[in-house]
């Protein structure tokens, strides 16, 4: 049975909150008592009392800093950051459009870095924080077509491990959840046969469900996990 008030009183920031996994994670926290701040380039798709949407392009440091100024004024702190925003273009390296490659680096890596460091500044004042990055099985499986995408996700995990060292004195942890295939718009970009082939090859050969993701988020986000940092947990038995 779920603890309905697990996140009561917590302020949670979710990037890429309007769609896919980010939206599902936002609802999860909202349903368990948290106040959720959603970052997204697009319009809000969540209409709940404790949901606060900020339109922001995380690739733009000025926009990110402006958004955090608002957060600082209104909420004072952030307890949990879920770095979920990401873009994916799957294409063989030799024909990958340069602008798509750039977009993945700017959003998945630099955007995550900008948000993490501004969140860390706020968290450091409160001497508490949980930074959780949504990673990918692609970093381990290294599928054809995902050279840049997998590289950005691997870079994010490395970044988290280093930030974990820098931020440990402030009781801020940084961890990564490597998710497997999950039914989203992003997954729909792949040919079904490719997805099926990947899933079949997993130690636990099935698509991830929401609760698989929430379970690991709960672990990383727990107050009891202050000694768990610089870790990546993959779903589905990947290592």
């Amino acid at each position: 049975m779920k603890n309905k008030s697990r996140y009561s009183g917590k302020i949670v920031l979710v990037t890429g909150a309007s769609r896919g996994i980010g939206r599902a994670i936002s609802f999860y926290f909202l349903n368990q008592g948290a106040t959720v701040i959603g970052f997204d380039k697009g319009e809000p798709t969540i209409s709940k009392t404790n949901y606060h949407h900020i339109s922001v392009d995380i690739r733009d440091i000025k926009e990110v800093q402006k958004a955090f100024f608002q957060i600082s004024k209104k909420f004072k702190t952030i307890d949990i950051l879920i770095n979920n925003a990401g873009v994916l273009t799957s294409q063989y390296a030799m024909i990958m459009p340069a602008e798509k490659a750039q977009e993945m680096v700017d959003t998945n890596l630099l955007g995550t870095f900008f948000v993490s460091r501004e969140a860390a500044k706020i968290m450091s004042r409160a001497k508490y924080g949980r930074i959780i990055n949504i990673g990918s099985m692609a970093t381990s499986l290294e599928p054809k077509g995902d050279s840049i995408y997998a590289a950005t996700k691997a870079a994010v995990a490395t970044m988290a491990n280093i930030m974990a060292k820098e931020l440990s004195n402030f009781n801020i942890t940084c961890n990564t959840l490597g998710i497997t295939a999950f039914q989203t718009d992003m997954l729909n970009q792949f040919p079904k046969e490719k997805v099926d082939r990947i899933i079949k090859a997993l130690p636990v050969p099935r698509i991830a469900n929401e609760d698989d993701i929430f379970n690991v988020i709960d672990f990383f986000a727990s107050d009891r996990s202050s000694y768990i940092t610089a870790q990546t947990i993959f779903l589905g038995g990947i290592n």
Partner: protein, 99 residues
């Protein structure tokens, strides 16, 4: 706009708060010449980052101004603005002049 004395007070307050969190053997002497960066720095690099974040936070919370002390210009200057309390104060005043 902020005065010279107000900025200095803010930096000193942030240093006192930093000092409170340091073990006895690492506590520093706080003056306007307290060295923050470089060969003779009295604090380590992570403490300097923490100090700067705290100063930015104080400027935001107490004065309602949002400035970024660690922008690109600060990093590429021949003489670092983080050398001591005095140079840091002068740099923050410059940032305020540009607001």
């Amino acid at each position: 706009m902020m005065t010279d004395k107000q900025i200095e007070k803010l930096i000193i307050e942030a240093l006192i708060e930093l000092n409170e969190g340091l073990p006895d053997e690492e506590k520093i002497t706080i003056t306007t010449q307290t060295e923050l960066f470089g060969l003779n720095a009295q604090i380590d690099s992570l403490s300097l980052v923490s100090l700067i974040v705290n100063i930015e936070s104080k400027i935001s919370n107490e004065l309602n101004y949002e400035i970024s002390i660690t922008d690109d210009r600060a990093m590429i200057r021949a003489e670092s603005p983080f050398l001591n309390v005095q140079t840091l104060k002068n740099y923050i005043l410059e940032l305020f002049d540009e607001l």
